[in-house]
Symmetry: C2
């Protein structure tokens, strides 16, 4: 690690899903010599889709450089990809980063920034059809690495993604010590975290609910993809 | 579910570990009819031990009632158990709650509030010696239920705890649909999340670092336990 800090930027927007970035944030702030920055187009406060509000959020335009960029997903992702200020800063910071990462449908932002052409990328299982219009190759893995791009699946996949990236940056031993520190030996009460494992009625209910969002999301992706 | 919302209160304090409560928060806000409230002794902003700052935090004293109380852990837990205002409100809200929960060393707060006498409780693996001076029976399980008390192990155990409690409140099918929604099919890159699984040098390094905090934590627990 050099004397200058390793800058990790979380690019936030309103109605972000907070666990998409709070999971990786809890891992990454334990990287020696790193500085974690939360930022958005306008700075100030960011309200997550759950209502939780983060403050002291910096302006993306004020951040000269990111070594690692992390774009979380959220119900607000569709507004985010049509926000020219947000997208310009994501593109700029990604351009200078050693690692560009996303969690959940945050990969839609990377796609809309033109970063996923011909690249394999993960996404929340219900939204794996959204990155391909940007040239991405949908990948069902929980954590997908394609060069400097590391994308995670839905919400909780961010913790697995961050530990993988941590191992790459700081070595396996350090990533393991962080995993032990946050007691990450998950024991889900049910085996229901992926569509192929969920009981059909559960999958049906969740899909039906999310399908209501699908027309608007597809339309926004189409509009942005046409302009790329 | 009745017409009045099911009130879920997260009792925060400075230098809380944010993933201890952001994990359960991401689960619990998906409970139909629930209202999630983040609160602290003074309200306003709460800065986590990672530097992430939460705003619009309510004052615990302004909250008449909690159906579910969740106390996260953090590096600031020792200051928290000696904060008379914080502890009085935790005790009051726990007194009327249907579920009293904690994550990580948040169980030290429950102990200091006098709630764990003769009760089994989880804690972060490195701090399982802290609840027993308050009469608790240390339990190595990741999620421990003893009556209305449900306590989780370190940091990430909060997600497992919350899904278990969700199943109890709203039924297994709803908990499963939330698990699917947040794609909680964890795949840690290493098997290193508990002390008995970690390579000995990793365990040694983490223990050595945490042991520096041990004398102060034991002294504070002793002071508070004597006054109980």
């Amino acid at each position: 690690m050099t004397a200058s800090p390793f800058i990790i930027v979380f690019a936030l927007y309103d109605r972000v899903t907070q666990l998409d970035f709070t999971g990786p944030h809890e891992v990454f702030w334990r990287l020696p010599g790193a500085q974690c920055v939360v930022a958005s187009a306008n700075g100030g406060d960011i309200q997550a889709d759950s209502g939780l509000t983060i403050t002291h959020v910096q302006r993306l335009a004020d951040i000269p450089h990111a070594d690692l960029l992390c774009v979380p997903g959220g119900f607000g992702v569709i507004e985010a990809i049509e926000d020219a200020d947000f997208m310009r800063e994501v593109r700029r910071l990604a351009g200078g980063a050693r690692y560009v990462t996303s969690v959940c449908n945050g990969s839609v932002v990377l796609g809309a920034a033109g970063l996923l052409r011909g690249k394999r990328a993960a996404c929340h299982w219900a939204w794996r059809d959204l990155p391909p219009p940007f040239g991405a190759i949908a990948d069902e893995d929980r954590v997908v690495q394609d060069g400097y791009l590391i994308t995670g699946g839905g919400v909780t996949a961010g913790i697995d993604m961050a530990l993988s990236v941590m191992a790459d940056i700081a070595g396996v031993a350090h990533a393991q010590s962080v995993q032990l520190g946050i007691e990450y030996a998950p024991a889900p009460p049910f085996d229901c975290g992926r569509p192929e494992r969920a009981p059909p009625p559960i999958l049906q209910a969740v899909t039906t609910r999310l399908d209501r969002l699908r027309p608007d999301r597809h339309a926004a992706v189409q509009r942005v993809a046409e302009k790329l």
